[in-house]
């Protein structure tokens, strides 16, 4: 990077200019008031300077009209700023339907990215230009924050939870990734680059090296390795619910509630299986807390996502139609 002196960050995403426009509006408005007050203060200070030691100011006590004006005008301007800020915010948090998912896991002191196609990167992220990208992130230890200054977006990565951000890069090139939430000794070393490539370059890059197959393939290996497959069978004969077509479907829970299955639900069900038990099943699944990493959970989720939806006729009900497990309460690992 050339050591030139930047005065403004590069605009490299579709939303960057929207954020910047709001910034310029704020600069103009507050600049106006700053200059107004400063000029008045300086002008008064000179015009009404004390000319002899016993002088007094004129006893002017106030003016309701003026008070109302300078309460009302800032209030209106503030509301304009709020509405504008909120509208930009909606754009920043509302992920486009067709966004491409990338997974990020923060760990002291690195960012680990996983592509669905199987590529894994550390402190480097390759994305195609003009494509909405959603980064789903979590943390393995403390709080981190994934910050893309050129895309004007950031989000905290929290342990035990998934958060997300999205952007559509508009320029090819290399831009900063920072960790923006203080995370310990090498916080300032938790930086990297996002490389925005043309669609073709990106395809090439994807083709370049995915030794272990796609993320879903990796998930499949883990699915066998952790013996998930013994209970979660696709033929609806297992002791656990069928997972085909789970994500996005409505799950009916034993306590009568329903929920829409998402990545957080899958993660919770792996680490904390009895928290949300599917109706018709016993709370017999052991926890995998401490045995499975965040990245592996993401791979498992990706595998579950890749399962054909229509298997065994259980459809989108998350296995609710499957025959319930035999009633085996108590310790059955």
């Amino acid at each position: 990077m050339a050591p030139s002196i930047p005065i403004f960050p590069e605009q490299a995403s579709t939303l960057a200019s929207r954020v910047d426009n709001l910034y310029f509006f704020m600069l103009a408005t507050s600049g106006f008031f700053a200059v107004l007050v400063t000029v008045l203060v300086v002008f008064f200070a000179i015009k009404y300077r004390r000319r002899h030691p016993d002088e007094h100011g004129e006893p002017i006590h106030g003016s309701l009209a003026l008070e109302l004006i300078w309460t009302g005008i800032p209030f209106i301007i503030a509301m304009v700023m709020f509405v504008w800020g909120a509208s930009v915010y909606f754009a920043l948090v509302r992920v486009p339907e067709q966004a491409l998912d990338v997974y990020a896991v923060g760990k002291q002191w690195m960012w680990k990215f996983q592509h669905r196609e199987g590529q894994r990167e550390i402190n480097e992220l390759h994305v195609p230009v003009n494509t909405p990208i959603r980064v789903i992130m979590t943390s393995e230890d403390v709080l981190h924050d994934l910050f893309f200054p050129a895309f004007r977006t950031k989000m905290d990565a929290l342990p035990g939870r998934y958060t997300q951000l999205w952007f559509t890069a508009t320029k090819t090139g290399t831009f900063h990734i920072f960790c923006a939430e203080y995370c310990g000794t090498r916080h300032s070393g938790m930086i990297g680059h996002v490389t925005v490539m043309t669609q073709a370059d990106y395809e090439n890059w994807l083709g370049g090296g995915s030794a272990g197959g796609s993320l879903a393939d990796k998930g499949q290996q883990l699915f066998s390795q952790f013996a998930c497959i013994t209970c979660h069978r696709s033929d609806a004969q297992g002791r656990g619910p069928v997972l085909n077509g789970l994500l996005g479907s409505t799950v009916h829970l034993a306590n009568g509630n329903t929920l829409t299955a998402d990545a957080a639900y899958v993660r919770e069900s792996i680490l904390n299986p009895t928290a949300k038990v599917v109706t018709g099943f016993q709370p017999i699944m052991p926890t995998f807390q401490g045995q499975v990493t965040e990245e592996q959970i993401l791979a498992l989720t990706e595998y579950i996502k890749s399962l054909p939806a229509a298997a065994a006729g259980s459809g989108g009900t998350g296995g609710a139609g499957a025959s319930p497990a035999p009633p085996t309460p108590g310790p059955t690992k």
Binding site: G57, H61, P149, S188
Partner: protein, 543 residues
Amino acid sequence: MTTTAAAPTALPARHYLNEQEGVKSWLLTTDHKRIALLYLFSITAFFFLGGFFALLIRLQLLTPTGALMDSDTYNKVFTMHGVIMVFFFLIPSIPATLGNFLLPIMIGAKDLAFPKINLLSWYIYVLGGLFALAALIGGGVDTGWTFYTPYSSMSSNSRVLTAGVGIFITGFSSILTGLNFIVTTHRMRAPGMTWFRLPLFVWAQYATSLIMVLGTPVIAITVLLMAFERVLRVGIFDPSIGGDPVLFQHLFWFYSHPAVYIMVLPGMGVISELIASGARKNVFGYSFVAFSSLAIAIIGFLVWGHHMFVAGQTAYAGLVFSIITYLVGVPSAVKTFNWTATLYKGSISYDTPTLYAFGFIGLFLIGGLTGLFLAAIGLDIHLTDTYFVVAHFHYIMVGGTLMAYLGGLHFWWPKISGRLYPDAWARLSAVLVFAGFNLTFLPQFVAGYIGMPRRYAMYPPEFQVYNILSTAGATILGAGYLFPMIYLTWSWFYGKPAGDNPWGSKGLEWETTSPPPTFNFDTTPIVTEATHQYGHHEEVKVV
């Protein structure tokens, strides 16, 4: 300096400083004025300690790779800078010194309502301070002054516990000061001192005290829970066993956002006095300025979530916190406009306190207006945790509070010490502070918008130019702070006697001697008019 009477030649024969002598008479005093000086002495010590760390930070950031220390040391340095400046300097600064000294005098009381509790609060402060120093000497703390979990509770290998205990203890000092002020303002006013005759400084102290009393207990219990978490691994903030780290942030900012108003509201009160005296005019729109203090104190409790727009709180919560944050900006704007209007047709002096007041208006203006940027939730996503935020809150806390504190110190120093300081030096330092401050922190806005994250020991090279400017400014700023320390100390011993009212100002504190007697007034004053009525107050004019 303006002196309306003939220059006095000696201090009064008896005053609070010579009524009793000896170390014991200070350490066991219940006189609010002496306790104010005890506080002044201790917070000055912490200020220079915190300032020393600030200097180290600026030196480190001269080069992108960190010129001075490794990351670990740097993290400890900025943490100790924050902890010391926030908890041991800014929060007690104006209330515990100027407020302690002036509040009883301004309302015509002989002392605060609970003089012994006032002394106790100082001892508690010192005890808390000793814990902070123990944390420092024992190896430092590296969590940042925000102590975010789970880093502070699970990960950090530093003296989190000791520092946490120090903050916990110091909190009680703050609570007791606030309690004392509230009770004093309600119960100890002199005959005729109605609420709407109170000096605006008293209104501001009152509003501040509300926050101290209502907010501080929450940080106390939060830090305590964090300490339990750290020692006992109880899991209350630990996501791996079911806790929620975001809960810590909520509880932390429930206090720590209003704490910003603990720092700046008293400053606003000081400025109202300085402007009124500097322009020899009552403050324009007295009741609006008074009630805006209360409005800030109350609404200030409803906005804490704006520190957490990207922390994992929901979008809905974020929007509500954003809009309330804009509401809290309005009373601040009202105050600024009223101060400006006060200058209109005033008789404006260029004395040191007035210069500080002008500086405050300028810096607070920038600090407040950049707060609007951060309140805009869509813009804050980009700005939060960058140097833009660092610059913003330094404009409020240092540009605002510290300017007001120094201005107030210069304004009331003749009353506190009975002596005058060298005026030329004082004006020079006021200008130095203003210029140095802007040079230090204006570049940080630019660096922040470009994306420089805060709490970085090393940074990409394109930010270097802004850091060099900052460091240069900090040097000037440091000199600006060092001078007053030197010439005020000098004037304590060698300054010319100031006389009762060197500024020709109005207010009960100027009606007693300088320094005041132990019980402030020889006879209980009877108040017959509102504050700062100069000239012919019978012809009240309303534009």
